[in-house]
Point group: D2
Chain length 283, copies 4
């Protein structure tokens, strides 16, 4: 079975060795190792993807977690094949409710074969949505909407989340969060076509360049790499000359973005595609 | 009536004055003047767009042409409202026949309300297409496919062309040609989404950036300005993960590009949109 | 003599005609006309550069100003050859004093052959600098530093300014201001190398891309065109590996930027270079 | 001591495991692992950087080479601390001789503390330079200048090269070559300022954007990553308005580029800087 191990700590001395030693000692096949050292932030991170005999699985997480505790590392062990039931999603939101709403409906209707385990928001706007669908809600922002990034991960760990879905969540996850859930577990909805319009105002920028094609992009978040390369799904619509920006944004937000997120999440939970060495490939 | 005057000559001394003097003497309303001086190429160019009383029209072209001849300028006078019949198109081609074929069919079927007055090619590939639809053909390239840019304009002048359509014509028109037919008379089909993929291999570049959205752009060619801003129409299609580049290009060339060109030309000849100070606006 | 006429008004009906009619009636040679129509902002603007017989000069400004008043246009007439004394500068500032200080010293020492006629600031930081050099000071910002763009132009008009120098003035001039002083009269200091680093944090961006070359750019501001093309002067310095961003910024602000502005302004007031059809050329 | 191990093979099955198992078995400290899998080219590559006890060094290369042979991998083991004498350079050239000439002189004069062990060229132009300085020469191009990339690596292996210097070598090394000499062993001279002007005609592009600052960049080549981030040294010069492109290129080629390469190579061989997780840092 495929297993993804992530480890994050303050430096590279003593981080890589114990985990790699343990993994090689298991006799598992190493499929991928990525390491990252960002001196200026005192952040060292590693992802190890292995092929493991199933009978080794029960001991793996406890033992690696124990190694992490003894070495002062934040270690996570995850397998897309671990869970017998549906994959568990955390939906992160800010203001716009449409993409989360569309995803909750698609889950309810059996179109997306997953479980909405928990919803989080750095703003309270989508709380009523969580209540409507009977999903646990956690507020993770302060009065100014600044998110508590540690709290987000704690909630996701507590709810044993498989995939974090950023449903128009308008804040950037820090590199340490991206590394802790690395390996294709963070799905973002960007409200513009990547890689052309990566900024926070893609409708405005596309409008300013007088494009007639507008789009949204569902992609994996991969730490330290251009987000444009991990595209899961893109959908577009066409504006006519003279259409006001407000009208274009409305069409994008109410129709195109929700569709894009639902289809993107469906592809991930149905395991039609997967992340392989920073690239999305068909399975 | 709206009239566009273009003048091209070797320098700016003595070019602007006689034409502007004549036009102001007519009592016409000046809507737009654009001038261009490119020292390094000894090219001076001007576009004047005016609102003219219809009874002044018959004398305008002969008199401005005479001014041009006496001053050594290349002067053209054109009005989109001049012709009582259908607009006359010149189709420029190179190798790919699909967009020209789709346009010829749309004209035949009354979907595009124009006349295919002449076809040109810097390569002989589309000659049989011209024969099939009974359109005059002119070869304008040498053995290596280098085009005779002067010859192209002579043919367009001779056939009294309203709009030059670059139907996957793979050469760049020189600035002097762009100026001579300035004012929204040159329609190009670009086989990628502008402004993100402006180069000559947009399929390859989009593929390399791992996009799933591919597109084509129909736009006016405007001298000395970023082509991305004069978009007439854009259409897109979506690739799936694992789709080969060859298959993507095939879908684009055989389906998406022809559709894009036909709809773009339709919008121009139906005068749904027009060029106004370097921007395409709805009429 | 070379004369630049600018006119700004709410639309293009009735703006171009009276000025062009008047100018052609004078018998002057038209060297350049640029027009601009930005529907969405109800702003129409025009620049006309002419060659005029000197004896026509005294009447030109009063008569064109009268035309402007009768038509509701904001008209300005300026000639770089008009003034017998030194060119008059307005120095616009925000927080950083170094570039303005260097320019004031260079003027005092005869290195830059101009007069510092007035200083303006949307922040009060450089006020003491104006007092130190005995230059009139005008505060043009509110409590949040938002500038009164109309007031800036009023002050420049009142002081009969030839050139507006943006000495680390950190706000964007609106298109209408750029047009009113079009023709190479607004000199900006940008604290990064153009065109590579056009944003407001060029040191940070160059540092993030791990460049070792840092620079500043002195350029004319030209409305509606990419600023990178109107470069008057650029100067650079080299950082070593491990140099902190703070240290790099300090070197840039205290040494490289002031030098860049002084040399740039010197080239303009000594008329070594000039703006010609959106390009800077040697005279 | 610091040791860099690179391994390249056709897939990731069976490549990572034997090398990582061996290395962890040595008790060495793992400082960095990078892996790369490019499905479409059947190329799998890995870099492992370790800290090794010196007494383990003599056995390391033979044993890892044997592992490589038994598994069908191309394995290289290198340490910057291995050689007691001067580092050995391979100079790769095409047409322009100036950068290689400057480096050979700097080596002769003791300014760069290295040995020019061998020169290679895909064109014969720099052969006489090799003869003049008594350096072995190998032609690695065919009649059209197409290089034999395998032959280049064979020559570098045969001459026990520490650093490959691309002295205006105008061809792209394939990913497999970059991986085989990964870890900061390939030094390139780019004749433009990175990251702004990455193409093959940086002088022309900077001239077209009307810059006044021209530059060259000496950088490590790092497979699969933007070259702009591994800058060793950059040097610039300033053009004046009206300076012809030919004159700018001449100054760059004859003066600025040679200086840039010499200083860049000096920094590497003096070990003032080194590559650390894709970034150049001061030691």
């Amino acid at each position: 079975m495929q297993v993804v191990i992530t480890a994050v700590g303050p430096d590279n001395r003593g981080l890589a060795d114990p985990i790699i030693h343990y993994v090689t000692g298991l006799g598992s096949n190493i499929a991928e190792i990525q390491m990252y050292d960002h001196d200026e932030q005192s952040l060292f991170a590693m992802l190890v993807r292995i092929e493991l005999d199933e009978d080794r699985w029960p001991a793996l997480r406890p033992e690696l977690t124990a190694i992490g505790q003894s070495k002062g590392l934040s270690v996570r062990v995850w397998s897309p094949e671990e869970r017998k039931g549906k994959p568990r999603l955390a939906l992160c939101t800010t203001v716009r409710p449409e993409p989360a709403l569309a995803l909750l409906r698609a889950i309810r209707d059996g179109q997306v074969n997953a479980e909405a385990a928990v919803m989080l928001g750095n703003r309270p706007n989508c709380r009523s949505l969580a209540e409507q669908f009977g999903v646990d809600w956690h507020s993770v922002g302060d009065d100014q909407g600044v998110a508590d990034d540690e709290r987000i991960l704690d909630v996701c760990d507590e709810y044993e989340i498989d995939y974090i879905v950023l449903a128009r969540y308008m804040r950037v996850l820090p590199p340490s969060s991206c590394w802790k859930y690395a390996g294709g577990r963070i799905i973002n909805l960007h409200h513009g076509l990547l890689p052309a319009f990566p900024g926070i105002r893609p409708y405005h920028e596309a409008f300013a360049s007088r494009m007639l094609t507008y789009g949204a992009t569902c992609h994996f978040i991969v730490p330290e790499l251009d987000a444009g390369n991990q595209i899961i799904y893109q959908s577009t619509f066409t504006a006519s000359h003279g259409m006001k920006l407000d009208e274009i944004i409305r069409r994008g937000q109410e129709d195109n973005e929700p569709h894009c997120l639902v289809e993107g999440v469906r592809r991930v939970v149905d395991r039609e595609i997967q992340l392989h060495f920073h690239r999305v490939v068909a399975r």
